[in-house]
């Protein structure tokens, strides 16, 4: 469905006349910028170097990092969840969890240990939000990971609820090593590329850098305000 646009013409005419010209008739090409410092940051860094940069940055953003590989993932995840006090756990509905061998953990081990587990299911409507709200831990997957800032990037869709990363007390993000890039520059390029190739950009793209925090009271840093209080990134060596 197309939305409505109101009052546009007179509004834009006013702008053009303030600028002392007529309205722009055609398309404006994106300029060739004179300065591009963003492309120089961590240029040519190897995946291993990016992992190191990410780890160092995570020390500054109150975020734990664990590195594992596909075989060690289930155990690492189980441990991390246990350290955060167990369930309830909520996750996206995402095939990659199965591909990475997490089914036994989600569907057998946790139920046996009385760790409540809920998988996002859009057919259940608002129930998903109720589940996310009562959850202790939310688990998501980073599509693009920014080494410089220690940021995971999440794309929403019907199976990847936005609130999985905001309502639970703690956030665990699974980070494929192959998703690492130097900084936000590469993520922006990818998103733009998707758009130019005719793919619709997700209605919500979240760049998440550690747990939520605030310095609004006497500039004292308080970690954990509206979003998660704690965050762990589990890097999976998939290269």
């Amino acid at each position: 469905m197309t939305g409505t646009i109101q009052n546009r013409e007179s509004f834009l005419n006013t702008i053009a006349s303030s600028l002392g010209r007529d309205r722009h008739p055609g398309k404006i090409e994106r300029p060739v910028w004179e300065f591009q410092p963003q492309k120089e940051v961590l240029k040519g860094a190897t995946p291993d170097q990016l992992v190191e940069v990410l780890k160092t940055q995570c020390l500054r953003i109150h975020t734990s990092v664990v590195v594992t590989d596909q075989t060690g993932l289930a155990e690492t995840l189980a441990e991390t969840v246990a350290n955060y006090g167990g369930g309830p756990v909520v996750t996206w509905k995402d095939n990659r969890f199965s591909e990475w061998g997490l089914d036994p953990l989600f569907h057998n081990e946790w139920p046996e240990q009385d760790i409540e587990y809920y998988e996002w299911d859009h057919t259940k409507g608002r129930e998903n939000i109720r589940q996310a709200e009562k959850a202790n831990i939310g688990i998501t997957i980073s599509e693009i990971t920014l080494a410089e800032s220690g940021t995971v990037v999440l794309f929403s869709d019907q199976d990847k609820g936005r609130t999985v990363s905001f309502l639970p007390k703690s956030l665990i993000a699974l980070v494929p090593k192959s998703s690492l890039v130097p900084r936000m520059t590469q993520a922006a390029q990818k998103m733009r590329q998707m758009h130019l190739e005719g793919k619709q950009v997700a209605s919500c793209v979240n760049f998440i850098t550690g747990p939520s925090n605030s310095a609004d009271i006497e500039l004292n840093l308080v970690v954990g305000v509206h979003g998660p209080v704690k965050a762990t990134y589990i890097i999976i060596d998939d290269l």
Binding site: T2, G3, T4, I5, Q6, N7, R8, F11, L12, T14, I15, S18, L19, R23, H24, I28, P31, W33, E34, F35, P37, Q38, I61, W120, H122, K124, G125, N128, I129, E133, E148, S156, D157, G161, R162, T163, R183, M184, T185, A188, M191, R192, H195, V201, S203, C204, V205, N206, F207, T209, S212, N213, D216, I217, E218, L219, V222, V225, H226, G227
Partner: protein, 476 residues
């Protein structure tokens, strides 16, 4: 006009500010810690000047082609199913938003921090219409429950309040029973507001940068409140000043990086959220309906004038954090939601000289603001231009700089004050002595020395000075 706060005259406001010793200490502390964090975040990049130049070229290009990019933006928002309303005035914006609220029969609105909604006084307008409006940014929330105390800083709105005062407000208004520890106060706000997020009918946000090519917009926060505002209520309204946009994601990224580094010295804040249209059909969270309100409210009158560059502003507050005058008098003295150097330039433009003609005189023209501005707005030159225009219009200055400074309790622009300003500026990045000039005009030092004959500041680096200086806000 709407952005005005308080009814007191300039001198009374300033007097109050100067006599509030907590506020002055807090402001000084904030300037020091934020200044230092910004400085190190900028230094870390190595080529900060290139970053600033890139920020400037992007913002300039957008302003020169603003009609084109706004047309593209609105087309793309509509393509994704969002509704766009162009509001020439604050009243038009408020009327439209009130209409949406009424059509949804909404009783409760949750809001994420937004300067432009403050500027148009949206909250009081919705409250008059019988709607409960809840600010969810912790600082804004504190001010709101304290009977709408006005903000004193554009990034840290409750900077003028200490934690005991905040505890007292919580006790009075929320029945809070714990201590004044920031963690406990924030924890209480988290619990209280969680229920509001879950039960609100409408979420309202501002917009850091809209992206013309895709009809997207980004929100930059640390608390995560904007994410709950935009994922839980069924209807979302986003209000943006008409200049807050960029061509594509790639430019958005650069400005976000400049903003987070300049505002809080972080590489990125905890949450940068890029939203496009309402949610997809099968999505569970995110709004079913999305409205974008694009506000002029005096901005188009600035376009095409000598003051156009002020619209490059990305509201990072770096200029505020280095301003020696702000340090001395605090945010409320400016009588506008926009304080500090950006406020002294912008408030007279949006609100008129009638109310704000003293502000351009409340400055030492030391140029510290210009040096830190991540998009290279020549702030001190614009202040100087204001003075010229005021004199032309009125035949005389409404108040001499000497008097304005005296009202600010500063004596006539003392060299000591100038020193503070120039040292809060990133001396290490942009040394006064290496011949670097601000490309839009003479360097700050030159501007200053033309007006005053003061000794050039010595080259003691900011950090050394910071480590040696006394605590508190006294500097005369």
């Amino acid at each position: 006009m709407a952005m005005k706060i308080g009814v007191e005259e300039f001198k009374e406001r300033v007097g109050k500010g100067i006599n509030d010793s907590f506020m002055r200490g807090a402001v000084a502390g904030a300037q020091d810690s934020m200044g230092t964090r910004r400085l190190s975040a900028a230094e870390e990049l190595g080529n900060w000047e290139d970053w600033r130049s890139h920020g400037e070229e992007i913002r300039k290009h957008v302003l020169e082609n603003l009609d084109y990019y706004l047309e593209q933006l609105s087309d793309n928002v509509a393509k994704r199913g969002g509704h766009v309303f162009f509001a020439s005035t604050a009243e038009e914006a408020n009327d439209y938003i009130r209409g949406v609220v009424a059509s949804k029969n909404a009783k409760k609105v949750v809001k994420a921090k937004s300067m432009v909604t403050e500027e148009i006084h949206l909250n009081s307008c919705l409250e008059l219409a019988g709607c409960e409006v809840i600010e969810t940014d912790l600082g804004e929330y504190i001010l709101q429950i304290d009977d709408h105390d006005p903000p004193s800083h554009i990034v840290v709105p409750a900077l003028h309040k200490n934690k005991e005062q905040i505890r007292d407000v919580f006790t009075d208004k929320l029945g809070y029973q714990k201590t004044s520890k920031p963690e406990e106060l924030a924890g209480h706000a988290r619990e209280t507001l969680r229920q509001d997020f879950l039960t609100a009918d409408i979420g309202i946000t501002g917009c850091n940068f809209a992206v013309a090519e895709t009809g997207s917009f980004s929100l930059v926060t640390n608390e995560g409140n904007a994410d709950l505002v935009t994922s839980l209520p069924k209807t979302q309204i986003t209000v943006m000043g008409m200049e807050r946009l960029v061509p594509t994601f790639e430019e958005m990224e650069v400005l976000v990086s400049l903003l987070t580094r300049s505002a809080v010295g972080q590489k990125l804040t905890s949450y940068i959220t890029v939203l496009t249209g309402p949610r997809e059909e099968l999505d569970v969270d995110g709004p079913e309906e999305f409205h974008l309100v694009i506000v002029d409210n005096g901005r188009s009158k600035i376009l095409g004038t000598e003051f156009q560059s002020v619209l490059q502003c990305i509201r990072c507050a770096a200029c505020i954090n280095v301003c020696p005058v702000y340090r001395h008098v605090g945010g409320h003295s400016y009588g506008s939601i926009y304080s500090g150097p950006i406020g002294a330039v912008l408030s007279p433009l949006l609100g008129g000289y009638e109310d704000y003609k003293e502000l351009p005189y409340a400055s030492t023209l030391c140029g510290a603001c210009t040096e830190v501005c991540p998009v290279k707005i020549p702030l001190h030159e614009l202040l100087h231009k204001h003075r010229q225009e005021i004199v032309e219009k009125e035949g005389k200055a409404p108040i001499s700089e000497k008097l304005a400074m005296k009202a600010f309790g500063l004596g006539a622009a003392s060299p000591a004050l100038y020193k503070i300003g120039s040292k809060l500026a990133p001396a290490a990045m942009n040394p006064f002595t290496n011949g670097d000039k601000i490309s839009n005009g003479p360097g700050p030092l030159k501007a200053w020395t033309e007006i005053r004959e003061f000794p050039a500041p010595n080259k003691e680096r900011f950090r050394d000075w910071f480590n040696n200086r006394e605590k508190g806000g006294n500097q005369s």
